[in-house]
């Protein structure tokens, strides 16, 4: 067997191994990325549990028990709502109306996401809005 053959063989083995890792990784850890409306519109429990949702915190819906700590709120995309339960400290930038991303498992019976990860986007307040027009 020539060296170039071996080289190609080695590369193939690595590619196959990495491909295997990626495929099983996606299968076991992949989350369906949906809008709140899409998830709320499901009439049956979905096969896979892992979900990722983007949306905003519905104003007035936040319940936070700092002692547990446990955070519950309604997430909205303007049309539908989904409950989110997150056992952890409230992120600093979290507030009514903020854009958030949650990842976790969906329980269809409760229509709620049990989030394992909650990311708050930085408020857009820090950028352009509210300062009015440029001087022409």
């Amino acid at each position: 067997m020539g060296n170039s053959t071996r080289l190609i063989l080695m590369s193939l083995v690595v590619i196959a191994a990495v491909g295997y890792l990626i495929l099983t990784g996606v299968k076991q850890t992949g989350m369906q990325y949906m809008t709140v409306t899409e998830l709320a519109g499901l009439d049956r429990a979905p096969k896979a549990e892992g979900f990722r949702l983007d949306g905003t915190v519905a104003p007035g819906s936040v319940e936070y028990d700092q002692r547990e700590p446990k955070l519950q709120f309604q997430m909205t995309d303007g049309k539908e709502n989904i409950s989110v339960v997150y056992e952890g400290l409230m992120p600093d930038a979290f507030a009514d109306g903020r854009e958030v991303v949650v990842e976790g498992s969906y329980r269809h019976a409760e229509r709620a996401i049990y989030a394992s990860k909650l990311v708050t986007k930085c408020p857009s307040k820090y950028e352009a809005k509210g300062l009015g027009k440029d001087k022409s």
């Binding site: 690595v14 890792l21 300062l131 440029d134």
Partner: protein
């Protein structure tokens, strides 16, 4: 003043175009006049960028609220040093900093080779100037930092509290110095192809530039991790967040390149591959900036969605296509001079290393962009996060760790059975020994054990390499061991600097292992006098205080920390409520020991006056930072080789 700023950037744009045109003309005709003018134009862009930065800084420091950028990112109560660092808090300022560093690289490059009349260096400058066109153009026509408000507000909107941290004052400039620096290797590679140059001299030069910016990028990544650790308050330092990944990817490919380039120098092989790696590193740097700034992917670090995404994407597409086309066009130039003799050899291990680095980058890239990719391929959006990266990247990284030990002790061309035996028996034994020692301490699972084995294996091979080097010189030396080690390192800085970087990597691996696998967590609401137990520690709440800071109200829980019943210190875990944004910011209390960090967060004060405290024990996390410092040291040693060679050149 703002007009002057805009004018500076517009002139910069014009000068960049002139530089490219003039150098291209000079290269084509062989006249040296246009080449000289082109070089001067590059210097001029640097001066203009510096002027623009000074003007913007002046406005920031004066809190001149008529500037949109100033009003968006500062406020009158913002401390002066954060007003200074607000230059890189927003998109326009960040792009300006990019341009300044880019043009500084261009000028530094021309300065370093000012005595070389070879038009090759002009061609490199031309490539750098091409990228300057892009950035000056963006800053002039799309995203100007010098926009003036029709009605200036009485006060600005303030700086994002997350960025009000000493780490954030140095992290972005250092990271950018790494990112942007890859323009020089890219310029070298493109110039080689454009001028159809053969030979390996440029390879040695490009290696040093790459090492330089690779080092900066690494430090930038670690500073970012450190910032996340002390500032974001979730107990960790790396979350496989898109922006973190974006900075990691060029570093990974760059690392691969730094290895495979040795094969080209030594054996004249892998030329196409190396050029492709340089180009990929550069494109990934641009891609990183794109990810950070475009808001395509959700990230804790992406501060805004913006209009520059399509521009960056187009730039990556065009420059990537141009680079690929050039590589294909000059295929003959990149013909390999040698063939691989055997797989079990230095070359073979480096090649394997490269395949793994690229695979690691690919997996990271795929995971980062998975929602976009899966939607394009299957129509459904699938997202992956930390668990995916841990599953996929950890085994690849461990394979690389093992190679770190194996590669350097395999001989070039072909490693014989006796060499293998001589070099591998002791490290393998030490690896097994370390694993055996770790198991009673609670290490379990395949990956942690492989990591411990690999760490001991690599360290042993490096110690053996040093020992062998000293042995070889023994006859001439009678001095003490440390002096001998120093002498050895001085003799071949590149090689032993590299080994020292490897030691840093091992420390990093062990630190990551300790802090991820053995992390402990506990939380409870505490009233004054009550205690929280975590591992050997007892945290007793002494009281809660509240005080007014410059631009925030600071609530602090004072915690008495005991370890095994012995008092070790008082720590302050705080929450700052910023007056401008009404946003709370966690300020972590860190009780640092070399073996472990006790990490304490104040969740908040409850109605009944109790304070919610969350605590983590992060074992060995100091090895992550310590490993970084060792890597910097090794990189500096390897880089210092350059001066010596330079001097020799001047003498000869």
């Amino acid at each position: 003043m703002s007009e002057l700023g805009r004018l500076a950037l517009l002139l910069g744009f014009a000068c960049s175009i002139f530089a490219v045109g003039s150098i291209a003309w000079g290269l084509r005709t062989g006249y040296s006049g246009p080449l000289r003018s082109g070089r001067r134009a590059v210097w001029t862009v640097c001066a203009l960028a510096l002027l623009a930065v000074i003007l913007l800084e002046r406005a920031l420091l004066a809190r001149d609220m008529s500037y949109r950028y100033v009003a968006e990112h500062t406020s009158k109560d913002l401390p002066l040093h954060y007003a200074f660092s607000a230059l890189w808090a927003g998109q326009e300022g960040s792009l300006l900093l990019w341009l300044l560093i880019l043009s500084a690289y261009g000028s530094a490059f021309l300065f370093a080779y000012r005595k070389r009349l070879d038009p090759f260096y002009d061609a490199v400058a031309m490539v750098i100037a091409t990228v300057m066109i892009f950035f000056t153009g963006l800053l002039t026509f799309v995203s100007s930092p010098f926009r003036i408000l029709a009605t200036p507000p009485p006060d600005g909107m303030g700086l994002n509290p997350l960025l009000q941290d000493p780490g954030m004052m140095i992290h972005p400039p250092i990271l950018y110095t790494g990112y942007v620096g890859f323009i020089v290797p890219f310029g070298f590679a493109m110039a080689v192809l454009l001028l159809n140059r053969s030979g390996t001299r440029w390879i040695e030069e490009v290696r040093r530039w790459t090492l330089f910016c690779w080092g900066f990028l690494g430090v930038g990544i670690l500073l970012g991790a450190r910032w996340a650790y002390v500032e974001l308050g979730w107990g960790g330092y790396w979350g496989w967040d898109p922006v973190e990944n974006a900075s990691l990817m060029p570093w990974l490919v760059g690392t691969g390149f730094l290895h495979s380039v040795m094969i080209e120098q030594r054996r004249g092989m892998l030329k196409t591959w190396n050029i492709a790696l340089i180009a990929l590193t550069f494109e990934l740097s641009i891609f990183g900036t794109f990810l950070t700034r475009s808001g395509v992917l959700t990230s804790v670090h992406s501060f805004a969605e913006s209009n520059i995404g399509p521009w960056f994407l187009s730039f990556i597409l065009i420059s990537g296509t141009a680079a690929t086309a050039l590589i294909l066009y000059r295929k003959a130039l990149l013909e390999s001079e040698n063939r691989m003799d055997a797989m079990i050899s230095r070359e073979g291990s480096f090649l394997f290393n490269n395949v793994l680095f690229v695979a690691l980058t690919f997996a990271t890239f795929l995971g980062t962009t998975f929602p976009v990719v899966s939607e394009a391929v299957t129509g459904t959006k699938i997202s992956v996060s930390a668990p995916f990266f841990n599953r996929v990247n950890v085994p690849i990284a461990l394979a690389l760790l093992l190679l770190t030990g194996a590669g350097p002790v395999l001989s070039w061309k072909r490693a014989t059975a006796s060499v293998l035996k001589r070099n591998f028996v002791l490290p393998t034994f030490m690896g097994i020994l370390a694993t055996g020692i770790a198991i009673p301490f609670g290490a379990e699972g395949v990956y942690p054990l492989v990591c411990i084995f690999g760490a001991a294996f690599v360290v042993t091979t490096i110690v053996m390499e040093f020992a062998r080097g000293i042995q070889a010189r023994k006859s001439a030396e009678t001095s003490a061991l440390p002096a001998q080690v120093v002498h050895l390192v001085k003799k071949n800085k590149r090689r032993y600097g590299g080994y020292i970087v490897h030691v840093g990597i091992v420390l990093l691996f062990v630190g990551v292992l300790g802090s991820s696998v053995f992390q402990k967590e506990a939380h409870a609401p505490l009233k004054t006098g009550e205690a929280l137990h975590i591992g050997p520690y007892t945290l007793t709440l002494r009281g809660v205080t509240e005080r007014q800071k410059e631009n925030a109200i600071l609530t602090t829980a004072i915690l008495g920390v005991e370890r095994g019943g012995k008092f070790v210190g008082t720590e302050h875990a705080s929450k700052a409520l910023y007056s401008k944004s009404q946003q709370p910011m966690t300020e972590v209390a860190l009780h640092w020991t070399p073996a472990e960090d006790l990490y304490m967060i104040l969740g908040g004060v409850n109605e009944d006056g109790s304070a919610s405290i969350q605590a983590y024990i992060n074992p060995l996390v100091s090895l992550v930072w310590g490993g970084g410092i060792v890597m910097v040291l090794g990189t500096l040693i390897a880089l210092s080789d350059r001066m010596r060679i330079r001097r020799e050149e001047q003498v000869g």
